[in-house]
């Protein structure tokens, strides 16, 4: 097996040259075929010798057809392998470029070495830097693994086709002339498209795999196997968007068919759904059809949107839609809502909130002379608890089960944003209510998130802010008056009392005092995203990387005093 250093030196040109040589010979053979056919058997020649000559010519023709088919297969395989190596070299360049820019080296055997760790890192940022370097090193390792998998695949595919040519195993599909034989042979020189990493794959695996594919292969996957990449974190979101939009139509047709079948079964059953799950299943199918309708309606609104995630395999539909382009925006924010959120009922409203937030952030950046490039994402990528599940279901809002399951999917989604891009975004995670618990749990992994804003939170899944992996001073909590959920402290202590947490105001404010910006206050649990509010403003300046402009404030009420944890007990 070749090593990484050799793969790094692979070039498509020698394969292209070999293909050109074969092409020349093949064309010569095809030209001779015309001459050979024209020679034919003279019309006045009869007898044994003439018959022998005719049979001999037929054998030669058949032999030529097989040779031409074999040459066409070899040419096709060489051409495809050259294209594949162009893709492979792109994958290598991505890995080498990432390594070089971040002070790593990729050895001949593919091992990753940290050769230039940043010096003079202040002690208070040492953990942040170490965590970020570990993330990059893991991504590089995954990328190298995928490059080697791709290299082996190209090598095997090409060797297989050439072996079949050498062994005369390329058929001409019964061709009766050389041109048809060439066409038949060319079809047998196709190389397989390498399937994605098994399972969900890490973002590094998925990015590494995708980057080694040629543009033609990537287009083929979007058209023929969109389900491979629609939810694959690490694959660029523009490609995921194309794939997921393509899936909407096929999934709707499949679900409509299933709904009709279930309805017919229920109609035919005198007990209805009493002894089967058909009625419950029909409700789920209807919910998913409604979700598809909501998604299509949301995507149809003015402005650039991307369908970043579409998963119809669970009880309720899951989806994520961005306002703006996640692959290119300088600033990306991912919002995770909480209790009762689901795609049919919640997506359009939250998409409106996120559109406003993107708009406000961009206008703020413009005014202060910054590049106004922002994308905001509504992520309903988990089975958020519903009221119907409050009491007895394991997905109950009183348990962290749904949040933990959600965090398992949110963390790689967040990781995938930087992984899929050439340059990292300034990435902000927003979490509301139970969604803040999901976000808090996700951020306990190494996600590359630069800022986090939690609001109206029943707890972040921890009692200690140092378990939330964002740079020091970049975790903000906003709590409004009369928001009882924010004082529950049910999933870890009340975030109002977490040491090191920044506190953004939700009250009516002038910022800076007297001559500054006038902002509206909000109260209760559900108004944090209201347009023109202090809380929305605080999110917008954080998303835009201007958290120094945030309105600080801790709008504590009496319940916050009651929720104060006793030192030493947590």
């Amino acid at each position: 097996m070749v090593d990484f250093a050799k793969v790094r030196r692979w070039q498509p040109e020698p394969l292209d040259q070999a293909e050109h040589q074969l092409k020349g010979r093949s064309e010569k053979l095809l030209g001779l075929a015309d001459e050979f056919a024209a020679m034919g058997t003279p019309a006045c020649w009869a007898g044994d010798a003439a018959e022998f000559a005719r049979r001999r010519r037929t054998r030669v023709s058949d032999r030529m057809e097989h040779i031409v088919a074999g040459v066409a297969a070899a040419r096709s395989a060489l051409r495809n392998a050259a294209d594949a190596i162009v893709g492979l070299k792109h994958g290598v360049a991505e890995a080498d470029g990432l390594a070089a820019s971040q002070g790593f080296a990729i050895d001949a055997d593919g091992a990753i070495r940290d050769v230039a760790p940043p010096s003079d890192v202040p002690a208070e940022h040492a953990d942040d830097v170490s965590r970020e370097r570990a993330r990059i090193q893991a991504e590089l390792s995954d990328r190298v693994e995928q490059i080697m998998r791709r290299a082996a695949d190209i090598d095997n595919d090409l060797a297989t086709v050439l072996g079949r040519v050498a062994n005369g195993e390329i058929g001409d599909d019964g061709a009766t002339d050389l041109a048809s034989a060439a066409t038949a042979g060319a079809g047998q020189g196709d190389l397989s498209v390498l399937e994605p990493p098994s399972g969900r794959g890490t973002p590094g695996d998925n990015a590494g795999w995708w980057d080694t594919l040629s543009k033609a292969e990537q287009r083929r996957i979007i058209n023929e196997n969109p389900e491979w990449i629609g939810n694959r974190d690490g694959v660029p979101y523009t490609a995921r968007d194309h794939a997921n939009r393509a899936l909407l139509g096929t999934e709707r047709a499949r679900l409509q068919e299933e709904a009709r079948r279930l309805e017919a079964d229920l109609d035919d059953n005198m007990f209805g759904g009493l002894f089967t799950n058909d009625d419950a299943r029909l409700d789920q199918v209807r919910e998913k059809l409604e979700a598809i309708r909501t998604i299509e309606g949301t995507l149809a609104k003015p402005g650039e949107r991307q369908l970043l995630l579409l998963d119809l395999t669970n009880e309720r539909a899951e989806a994520a839609i961005s306002n703006g382009n996640v692959d290119t925006a300088d600033h990306v924010a991912v919002f995770t809502p909480g209790l009762t959120s689901n795609v049919p009922d919640s997506m359009q409203g939250y998409d409106g909130n996120m559109d406003q937030l993107q708009f406000r952030t961009e206008e703020e950046l413009r005014r202060y002379g910054e590049d106004p490039s922002v994308a905001t994402v509504t992520w309903i990528g988990y089975q958020a608890p519903q009221w119907s599940e409050t009491i007895i279901d394991e997905n109950s809002v009183t348990e962290d089960h749904a949040a933990r399951k959600g965090a398992e999917k949110l963390a790689p989604f967040l990781q995938g944003i930087d992984t899929a891009r050439d340059t990292d975004a300034h990435l902000t995670a927003l979490g509301h209510s139970y969604g803040s618990t999901t976000t808090g749990l996700a951020l306990q992994q190494n996600t590359g998130v630069d800022d986090a804003v939690f609001f109206g939170s029943p707890g972040l899944g921890t009692d200690h802010l140092n378990e939330i992996n964002v740079p020091d001073g970049h975790a903000t909590y906003i709590e409004a008056k009369w928001d009882g959920v924010g004082d529950l402290g049910h999933f870890g202590i009340d975030p109002s009392h977490l040491d090191g947490m920044q506190h953004g105001s939700s009250a009516e404010a002038q910022h800076p005092a007297d001559s500054g910006r006038t902002l509206a206050g909000v109260t209760g649990h559900s108004a944090y995203l209201r347009d023109g509010s202090t809380s929305q403003y605080n999110m917008s300046v954080t998303i835009g990387g201007m958290s120094d402009k945030m309105v600080s404030g801790n709008d504590r009420g009496v319940t916050d005093v009651l929720s104060w944890p006793i030192p030493g007990t947590y």
């Binding site: 309708r293 029943p458 559900s526």
Partner: protein, 189 residues
């Protein structure tokens, strides 16, 4: 259910009830009432033509009268979404749009700012916008907000650059406006 679960359920239910989780109370307004109210407004496409015309005239006059740099578009000039707040229940029938004018590079001097606001207020006033409300007003950093009867907000500001943007209130789509009644739910299958 464990005792802990029961306690937690009770606490969450109580907290959410007090806090009004899930939706604004205002969302309970009747759908037909909201639709009838929005029938009195122009549909979103008509509104867009008027607002875009207003923005274009403000931009041109600021360049001509105040002498600011020409405007440059640097992103998506129009975005939009379903309505939010009390109008959210209109679903696909309602729409909000947001228009950015990009930027006019540079700051309007503090001394020129009142005259610039006058220009904006004069033109916006003729389109039914109210008096400018100060959002920010400090040396080198100013912004005013003007609102109309449909809930549109026009923001005009200057700091490093000068900006002008507008968010509409909620309007019916043209199709909904022509239909005149809330859309019936199309069959799912």
């Amino acid at each position: 259910m464990t005792l802990r679960q029961a306690m937690a359920t009770l606490m969450v239910a109580l907290a959410l009830t007090v806090a009004g989780c899930g939706s604004d109370p205002s969302k309970d307004a009747n759908m037909n009432t909201l639709f009838t109210e929005l029938m009195q407004r122009p549909d979103i496409q008509t509104a867009e033509a008027d607002y875009q015309d207003l923005l274009a005239r403000i931009r041109d006059k600021l360049v001509a009268d105040i002498g600011i740099e020409r405007w440059t578009q640097d992103g998506e000039p129009v975005s939009g979404s379903a309505c939010v707040g009390q109008y959210a229940k209109l679903g696909a029938d309602g729409e909000i749009r947001r228009y950015s004018s990009g930027t006019s590079p540079g700051n309007i001097a503090d001394a020129d700012w009142p005259r610039a606001v006058e220009v904006v207020a004069d033109l916006a006033g003729r389109h039914g916008f109210g008096e400018p409300q100060v959002v920010v007003d400090r040396p080198g950093d100013h912004e005013v907000s003007l609102k109309d009867e449909y809930g549109a907000e026009l923001l005009f500001g200057t700091a490093v650059n000068t900006t002008l943007s507008l968010s509409t209130g909620c309007h019916l789509t043209r199709e909904a406006h022509q239909r005149g009644i809330p859309a019936e739910e199309a069959p799912l299958y």
